[in-house]
Symmetry: C2
Subunit: 406 residues, 2 copies
């Protein structure tokens, strides 16, 4: 098989003592495809050849901080999968995930493979089309608090926040479909609030409603909510599985953009020695799974994510990848208006400014909180630095900066 | 809320410098339920109280190997979930999974919560009933090789292995539904082989067929395969999501036992400082999700799993847990007949002896390989040690021990 036809997977091996990286790489290439730990009489079967993995490169074993590390690249035949993320994951990081200090750093998917996969229906261009926001970051608010409020209370918060100029308002990811605010009720309340606010602002605010429920019913549920007018879905992709994301993106009846939440991904991606890099879990697999927007912890805020990790996610979402559209990065957690200049410097204008406490914690309330975010975005688009912004801030932004950007 | 009504979650915090564990615990208890990083005007809302998490205990911060560690227990209201694993995971390890060195060590689910969840349809007793194996470990073989073989070739291997006395034969987890051996074809071939072998052995061998495909179709697929006679499903639970396991277990039309494979779980569970313990991912959540058998790396074999980790999984699958039945542990990878005495000493007779290379790598072939496994089990049930077994082994077992238990 020509080398470019393989799915190329980069792994990092780590260990407390020197190891034979070549041997380890070979055992993965063969063990995850056609062979096992002991010789088999069938090992020379011709029919197996095109299903066998190959070691494409083995780096030098490097030694620092009493740890030995080595990067290897293994090529896997795309034909050993069903062209979807579950069978891909099982092949490249199934059993091997359990075998000592190994981290999957990167996956390169051949174009022919990508063309079989899901595809974001909207991406950056599509989101700009349906929000009507041509050339600035999108402004989003998260309901805070969220769990425990009634549909009417959420609808009120939606209205106030939409009046402040939100492009999107999202459920907190921890809000399931529970009796305090059943999903149909909160959808109805928020869509009404969006309409009401639009009469005043002439701006349409999308509602990213949390799509939850058993996977036996989640696609039915998505179609049902879509028929009720849902215009954006929030999905905890790692809680439900990438296949749910793929299924939504591939469903021609569900024409609703999907916002991927990173919940649970830290368990897979935070360790430097184990698991799968964020670049893959929140970057490449989200985009190739069909997400239009992907949230992840920023390096500025309250949840820890090193800057270079966040940038690798950003690049995976926005750099060329087959024929897939660019999708929106949403660096999140602890975001407030004073961070807008930094976010735009790091991400450009194709970014979602996503704030919860940084909107609703505003001393003048949710409307003023979102107004401050929009003011920060507008000044930033005019090239204002944080310092210049402080000197020229309208009332709402001034309050926000005084509180959070001392 | 009375303390026993909470979902109790134990976390381990780690850090390179001292930290305020109390504060960190509180920020999780509140941040994953009703509050956020900055004060909100709504923070005293009475309606939120019953949705708020509580810190139940904070251990001493301990210091060793230049790392500070502390265990805390947090109580979460069950009413903040939908009584399923996805909303449970999002609540207890969603955003918090991304926030520094934190490992989820354990989850205690209240009985009322467990009663809403899925339930293994078979468990140990049910599996003994349908296999007719009353009082010894189950003997299972994995197809090796698997990917790349035709349905007819798999059927032949099934026949040979069934003649050796296999209770179950399973697909390799890396075998998807691909053109070389479409799932209906291999199901048909293996069921025929099982019947044919049964004429000679008077023993019924189950076929754990790998259930794959998009989740949009996987339940339909399971019902279809079930209608064709499928009598056991293998599921890569982490690749597809726990909700697929729950959906299969809750479906009254799918009366087929489920064998959970640990593929990908290492990415979540291997790190001592990040992720979710194996006890939870492969133990409690598999059982509460409805798996009847759970495979995991043994500590004896070719894939690294510390003994105490494997035993915690064993205990989670077999110790009392609400009204859930005990389910079968299947310590796997690198298993061969010579390991049977050790496995039975560690697991008792409620265990699956699961070998791939250790069956098909037998010098006399697959039938002899499985015969050796059954011989080892039978001698072990008579109380033979490995030494005594070596001295009294019939031909097939003798060969296996000579090769793998030198």
């Amino acid at each position: 098989m020509p080398e470019q036809s393989y799915i190329r997977v980069t792994y990092l091996f780590s260990g407390g003592s020197p190891f034979d990286a070549e041997k380890k790489a070979k055992s993965i290439a063969l063990g995850q495809t056609t062979d096992t730990w002991t010789p088999l009489s069938s090992k020379d079967l011709k029919t197996l050849e095109k299903h066998r993995g190959v070691v494409l490169s083995v780096g030098q074993v490097e030694h620092s901080d009493s740890t030995y590390r080595c990067k290897v690249i293994i090529g896997f035949p795309p034909g050993n999968t069903e062209g979807d993320i579950p069978t891909l994951l099982t092949m490249v990081f199934g059993k091997v995930s359990l075998d000592g200090k190994i981290k999957l750093l990167d996956i390169d998917l051949p174009k022919t493979f990508l063309s079989r996969m899901a595809r974001p229906k909207y991406g950056v261009d599509g989101m700009r089309r349906i929000t009507g926001v041509a050339d600035r970051p999108l402004a989003m608010a998260i309901f805070k608090p969220c769990v425990g409020l009634s549909a009417a209370e959420l609808g009120d918060m939606f209205y106030q926040t939409a009046l402040g100029g939100a492009d999107l308002i999202k459920d907190d990811e921890i809000l399931p479909n529970i009796g305090t605010a059943p999903v149909e009720q909160r959808l109805e309340a928020c869509l009404k609030s969006a309409q009401k606010a639009q009469m005043e602002t002439h701006q349409h605010t999308l509602y990213a409603v949390n799509l939850t429920g058993p996977v036996t019913n989640i696609f039915e549920q998505a179609r049902w909510l879509s028929s009720l007018g849902a215009n954006c879905f929030l999905l905890n992709v790692l809680s439900y599985g990438y296949s749910v994301l793929e299924g939504l993106a591939k469903d021609s009846q569900i024409n609703v953009p999907i916002m991927a939440h990173p919940a649970v991904s830290g368990g897979l991606s935070s360790s430097p020695e184990y698991g799968i890099s964020y670049k893959v879990t929140l970057g490449k697999l989200m985009r190739a799974g069909g997400a239009d927007m992907v949230l992840f912890p920023s390096s500025y805020g309250t949840v820890a994510m090193p800057t270079e990790e966040a940038f690798r996610i950003r690049d995976a979402l926005t750099e060329p990848m087959g024929s897939l559209p660019k999708v929106f990065p949403g660096p999140s957690a602890g975001i407030h208006p004073g961070l807008v200049p930094q976010i735009v410097a790091d991400y450009g204008k194709d970014v979602i400014i996503n704030a919860g406490g940084g909107v609703h914690g505003h001393p003048m309330g949710s409307r003023a909180g979102m107004t401050a975010v929009r003011q920060a975005i507008d000044l930033c688009m005019k090239g204002y630095s944080l310092g210049k912004m402080k000197a020229n801030a309208p009332a709402e932004l001034k309050e926000a900066l005084a509180l959070w950007s001392k």
